[in-house]
């Protein structure tokens, strides 16, 4: 029982970077722009977070920097796809490649002397909430998490409120479903999409910082290692809803946590097969959903004003 709770707690912790990225991706996708660039935005955020914290000495500033980093990369996507109608999926891939090179390059170029330096940052410690964290079972699971995990959970609710209880969210969703109708109703689809993509990038950047500042404590080349794509899969699995995406992220977090523990258990199943789980599972779920998946109707099609 204890180890199950521990496993769940670890899953939640590991899922947090994915969660931020997925929430950011939801903003972009529900406004009608594919969020394939999440991987690059996370990576940029991870890098910016570590660098800023190291240079300025304060993790809070590092978080701000990570959001800015993710947003800047997202701005490239926004300009290319919304303004110039570039293919959304391939542009996302392009910025991922760009981010990979840019972060590794700047790491060496600005700080090392041709070698990859190791910048150590004190990881953000878990923040147990007094009293609540002593509740048996639920306590350690929910209330002895690092600070950013709490923020992430709160963000799920905030995202839901934004999308479904504010006019801005309504407009965003309408632009993703039928931009012409939104336009006829008085909205500006181009502006809405651009804002959605950039804010989504900021969130993804913070997700990267969660990885580098909270979990690992340093930045290494390509450290996101496909998490951005997993976030994308989580969005689809969760049917583009914040709560659903959270479930997807938790699922991936669990397989990751499971994999670490299984290696200690010396089960007959190879660790590589366990590592495959998130991808196979998401493929299976996506395939199972089939064409019924309710993706935003206007996603992928640029809006051109005549």
């Amino acid at each position: 029982m204890d180890s199950v709770a521990e496993l769940l707690a670890a899953s939640l912790r590991i899922a947090t970077p994915l969660l931020f990225a997925a929430l950011g991706g939801i903003l972009s996708e529900r406004a009608g722009v594919f969020a394939v660039g999440l991987e690059g935005m996370m990576l940029t955020g991870a890098f910016a977070g570590v660098i800023a914290t190291h240079a300025l000495g304060h993790a809070g500033l590092g978080l701000v920097a990570s959001a800015v980093g993710g947003a800047l990369l997202a701005a490239i996507v926004a300009i290319a796809t919304v303004r110039f109608c570039a293919d959304q999926m391939v542009t996302g891939l392009a910025v991922n490649i760009l981010a990979l090179g840019l972060t590794s390059f700047l790491l060496r170029g600005l700080f090392g002397r041709g070698e990859a330096p190791i910048i150590r940052v004190t990881p953000l410690a878990p923040l147990p909430i007094p009293a609540l964290s002593d509740i048996p079972i639920v306590g350690p699971l929910l209330f002895r998490q690092p600070a950013l995990t709490y923020v992430g959970l709160a963000l799920i609710v905030a995202m839901f409120v934004l999308l479904h209880r504010t006019r801005a969210g309504l407009t965003l969703r309408a632009v993703g479903e039928n931009p012409t109708a939104a336009f006829a109703g008085g909205a500006d689809p181009l502006r809405v999409r651009a804002v959605a993509v950039v804010s989504g990038g900021a969130l993804a950047g913070i997700g990267g910082a969660v990885l580098s500042l909270q979990q690992v404590g340093t930045f290494t080349d390509g450290m996101t290692n496909g998490r951005g794509y997993l976030a994308l899969a989580a969005i689809i699995v969760g049917r583009w809803s914040p709560a659903g995406a959270f479930v997807g992220c938790l699922l991936f977090g669990a397989t990751d946590a499971l994999q670490l523990r299984i290696q200690g258990l010396r089960l007959p199943v190879s660790s590589y097969v366990i590592q495959m789980l998130p991808y196979v599972v998401s493929l299976a779920v996506l395939a199972g959903l089939g064409r019924g998946a309710k993706l935003p109707s206007a996603i992928g099609t640029p809006f051109v004003r005549r």
Binding site: R165, L170, R173, N178, G186, R306
Partner: protein, 512 residues
Amino acid sequence: MLRMQGISKSFGPVHANRSIDLEIPAGRIVGLLGENGSGKTTLMNVLFGMVAPDAGSIVFKGRPLTGHSPREAIAAGIGMIHQHFMLVPAMTVTENVMLGWEATGRWLRPAAVAARIRGASAAYGLGLEPDARVELLPLGAQQRVEIVKAILRGAELLVLDEPTSSLSPPEIASLLGVLRRLRDEGRSVIFISHKLGEVLEVCDEVIVLRDGQVAGRAEVAGVGRRELAHMMVGRDVGAPIDRVARAPGDERLVVADLAASDAAGVERLRGVSFSVRAGEVLAIVGVDGNGQAELAGTIAGVIAPSRGAVFVDGADVTAGGVAARRAVRLAHVPADRATTGLVAEMTVAENLALRAFDDPPFRRGPWLDADAMSALARERIAEFAIRASGPGTAASTLSGGNQQKIVLARELGGRPGVLVAEQPTRGLDPGATRFVIDQVLTLREAGGAVVYISTELEEALLVADRIGVMYGGRMVGLVRREDVDLSRLGLMMAGALQEHPDAAALYGVRAP
């Protein structure tokens, strides 16, 4: 209340609006009548700010409206109910009403808006349920969502674009009642339509558009149907082109109880039967959207019918797709020349081989025979006088008329037995139009059977031996050219008259 002056708008070579002047007083329902392509929708899109005009001015309630987007039009008090509803299907009525409406504030208050929807719904007899999801509502109800949106935002001028095109008769009656109530409150309504009957029933005055210009205006009280139909359709038919009267031969194309749905699953073709004989042209007229596209698609094999059969020269090709049609030499000129009939990036030669590339002579073993394609292309270019610098020119560089010549050269060059032509002269100048008609008549002389679908009544009369009228997915009239009465045809096209509703009986064709 509204004055539009000198409005002009062109889309490439198409002049949708040619310096149109329009005046709408307060408290009236004004009908804007015209056929497809007369420019009605473009004019209203300009008014509403969805399309920017090339020239002209708009003054609404004493204030000018320029360079505006729908947001400003709505704020000024104009509401538009589009032909293809501007609604988000996945959202509820309330959400759709709140969309883009700044007065609802930053935080949505669906309960308050729902109450207002119920209030307006009761006051105008709209019968709307605020929490229903739009995609589940019948089309008539969806339209009323658009209406309630306009009303709640304080629209003083409502523009309805072809509002009855997807409504059943009782829904139409209730809509007209709503419009009268709005008019009695002092609001004005612009009622865009091609349907004479309804325009005469509900409008106070009517303005007729033809070919992008105003063709006439009248008070409804003082004008008759025939006069209006005449204004819509144009001059009387001029001298017909030289046509040899022929006794038609054997049946070459037989269509039995064909039915099909569009991409959204709505049944657009509701059971059509007819046959066409050798040496005969059957022109099918009617306003666009009454099932002609589905009829052509099912006959030509690009759409699978939900019911019915197609026979060419006795062979059942219903299930065989495009391949079966080609095997029996059925040619097809599609309505969408630019993206379906041609591949713009490919050369003239490749486009001429578009449907036959996998057979000899174009294919030799595993290779495409470029020389054979070129040679044939040169032949066709000469035969059809296509103005292109050579077989290797990209199709996109050619004019519309020459592009259509490529399509015709391909489809007619192989001496087909049956031809299905959809809107073959759309967007073409008179010279190119005449060429197309000549080609069709030549095929007719040679014993081919032609189904000629057009929205241009005049043109249909030039080529046809018989004319069929499509309305609401059915063939509502089928007459020989000698027996044609222009105004009656106009009425049939407008759905106001039905003659020979079951054409199958005429030819004794039985559905299998």
